[in-house]
Subunit: 428 residues, 2 copies
Amino acid sequence: MSSSLLITDATLNDQRVNIYCEDGVIAAIDPVAKNVERNSDSTLDARGMFAYPPLINSHTHSSMTLFRGNGDDLPLMEWLTQRVWPYERGITVDEIYWGAKLAIVEMIRNGTVFFNDMYWDFHAVAKAVEEMGVRAMIASVIIDVNDEPAKRQKHWDRIERQHQEVEKYSDRVQFAVAPHAVYTVSEESYRWVVDFCKRTGTVLHTHLSETEGEVEGCIKDHGGRPVEYLHRIGALETNLVAAHTVWLTESDIALLGEYGVVCSHNPVSNMKLAVNGVYPYRKLQAAGAITALATDGAGSNNSLDMFQDMKIAALLQKLTDNDTTSLSAHEVLDMASDNPAKFFNLGGKELVVGRQADLILIDHTRPELNPAHSLESHLVYSATGNVVDSVVCDGKVLMEHRHIEGEEEIIAKANEAARVLFARVDDA
Amino acid sequence: MSSSLLITDATLNDQRVNIYCEDGVIAAIDPVAKNVERNSDSTLDARGMFAYPPLINSHTHSSMTLFRGNGDDLPLMEWLTQRVWPYERGITVDEIYWGAKLAIVEMIRNGTVFFNDMYWDFHAVAKAVEEMGVRAMIASVIIDVNDEPAKRQKHWDRIERQHQEVEKYSDRVQFAVAPHAVYTVSEESYRWVVDFCKRTGTVLHTHLSETEGEVEGCIKDHGGRPVEYLHRIGALETNLVAAHTVWLTESDIALLGEYGVVCSHNPVSNMKLAVNGVYPYRKLQAAGAITALATDGAGSNNSLDMFQDMKIAALLQKLTDNDTTSLSAHEVLDMASDNPAKFFNLGGKELVVGRQADLILIDHTRPELNPAHSLESHLVYSATGNVVDSVVCDGKVLMEHRHIEGEEEIIAKANEAARVLFARVDDA
C-alpha cells in the first residue's frame, strides 16, 4: 500500500522547501516559492523549523532504561554484582519489551530513529521497534563463558533460528550477532560466531577494549590483547561494530583502521564508569576506522540523548588532547550521522531526493539556538534532544510537535515493569 | 502591596502539598489531604510535578549569549582576539541588555533564577534582571592593565557610583565588584577593590587560576601564584567568588579553604577551552572552600543549562579521579544549590516555610525521569533543563508550563542585536 507525507515549509540548507515523501523515500524537495502542488495522505507543518537527518546511536542496551538511576556513583563491580546482574538474571521478556519501548520513546524525543542494540531478547526488542516505527539493528547475544560446553550448541542453534526469524519483520529490523565480550564468550563460540557472520554477511557487534582489566585478562587467557585476539580468530574480517575501543595500542589502532571497523564511542558511559582511558578519536579516524558515537545503555549514561553526548564527546577530546580544535562540531556530527550511516544501511547527513524519508524537524525559535550564528555549532554545543519538534521515519510521523502516540501508557508500563522486576528479585 | 500565589498539588518529599507563597516567602505548606482553604491572587497547577529549589549559577557572563556559536573549535587566542574582543570593544549598552535578556530566558527555562554575573554594563544587566523577575549578583567590572594610571580613578569612581546606584533596584539585584583577573587588572586597582570590598562588605568576583599561563604570568609579574598574590593583597579576606580555580597547588587549596572562598567550577568552559587541568573538587571540599557550579558565559559553554553541567561535572571528576564514586549526584546538586546558597543570600535545597518563594516544578512524566528509582540521580544524570515545567521566583510565576511572557520578542531582539553588532564591527 502506497503512503505519502508532505512536510510543508521546512528550512533546508537556508532554503524554504516542501519535502514530499512517498513509500518511505524522499520523492521530491520543492522550494516553497515554486508553489508546486502535491496530494498526500498526510501533512506535517514545519514552519520555522530546520529539516535535519536523525542521529544514529551505534551502541546501546535499550531495555536497560529499567535500570536507570538504580545505583549510580558506586564502584563498578558493586554496581554490576548488586544492582544489575541479579535483576538481569530474573528479567522477563515482557519487562525487556517495556524497557525497550521506554528507550525508543526517549530516543524519538531526542531525534534518534536508529539504534544498534545488544540485549537479552531479540524478539522483545524487535516487537518494540516494529510497533514504534523506528529502525534498529538488534543482536542475538551470546555469553557462555560459564556454560557447560554442551550448552554451546543451544546458543548457536538459537542464533541460527533468530537469523531466520528476522524475515518476519519489516526491513526496519536488522539482525546482528553479539558475542558480548572477549571475557564473557568462549573462544569456541567466538570462532563459531565469526564463521556464522562471514557465511551470512551478518554484522558482529561486541564490546572491545573497554577497560584495562579486559586487556590484561585477554593477554592472560588468549595470549594477546583483545584486538589481536579478534584479529587472530578472524573477527576483524566480519562487518564488525566494536563498542568502546578505549584501551588501544598503536598497533591495535592500525588493525581497526586497516579493517575499517566501526569503533563506537560511548563517552558518557566511559566517564561514568571510570574506565581510566579515552577513545583515541584522532588516531582511529586517521587510521581509517569508522568513528561513530553512542549512548550506551541507560544504566550507565543515564539518558539516551545523542545531542548531549555529542557535546560531551567534543569536550572530552579537547580535554584529553589539550587542544580546543579537537573533535569539532562538524566532526562529531559526522560521528552521529554520516560516518556510520552506510554501514547500518541508513541515509547520511544530506537530505536529498531518493534518500530514506527519515528526518527530524528542529525548532529554531528556542533560545539556546539563538543568535543564528552556526547551526552545526548550536546542535553540538548548545542543543539537547529537546530542540527536536517532530520526527519522521520511513515516511511516517513518529512524533508531531512533541507528541508521541501512546507515550503516557508506555511510561506507566515501563515504571510498573521496573517496580515488579526489582520487587520480585529483592523478595526472592 | 501584598501578593500571594497558591501552588496546588505539588509533590514535595513524596507528599502531595499545596504551597502558599505570600510577599515572596513560602508562607505555608499544606498537605493536599488536609483540604486547607487559602485565598490567593493567583494559582499555579502543579499536579504530577515535583517542587524543587531552583539551581544557582555561580559564574557567568550573561550577555555573551550574543557570541554563542561564533567561533568554536578555534585555538583560544584566535577565538579571543578575532571572534570576541573586537566585538566586545564595539558592543553597545542596548546590545548588552538584549544579550542578558536572552540569557535570562534560557536560564529560566532551565530552572535557574539566580546568576552571578560579570560583564560590561552593570545597569543594562540590572534592567534585564528587574524586568525578567529573576535574581542576580551583578558586578561592576574593572580591566585596567593597559590604561594610563590617570584613568584608574575613573574606574574607581564608577564603582563607587554604581555601588550607590544599586539602591534604586529591588533586592533581587545584588552588587559585586569584579576585577577581571590578575593579568588584566593593575595591582593598584586590585588593592583599591580589596579595600573597597572590605569597607563596604561587597562581594569580590574574579577569575582565578584558570590557565597555566595565568599562573606563570602572575609569578613573573607579582612574584607569586595567583592565590598567593591575592592572599598578599588581602583579597582572600573579602567575600570572594573565584571562578575556575583549576591550576592550584596544595598550599593554594589550603588557603582557599582557610578563607572559605567560593570556588566556582565551570566544567564545560574548562574542557571546551582546553585549560589542561581540572577543578580539584575533593581537595577543595575537604579544605573548607565553598564548592559551587557554574556555566560560564554562552561564548564558551555554549548553553546555560545547569542540569547538563551537573552531569558533566560529575563525569569529569570520575574521569579525573578514576573513581566512579567521585562527585556523586547528591554532592553535585549541593554545588548547584546548598553550598553557595547562603553566600548569595538565597534559599537552599529544602523548601520550607519561611524560605524565599523561589522554586521550580519538575515534570516527572518525562521519559528520561522514569522509572522512578531516584530523583537525585535522574536530575543529575538524566535530566536536562527541559524537565522544568514552571518557575517561581520571589513568589511570582516566571514560566508557567513552559511559557515565558515576551520570550518570542526577546529572542528576535537578541538575534537582531547580534546581527547588527557583528555587521557593524565587520564593516568598520
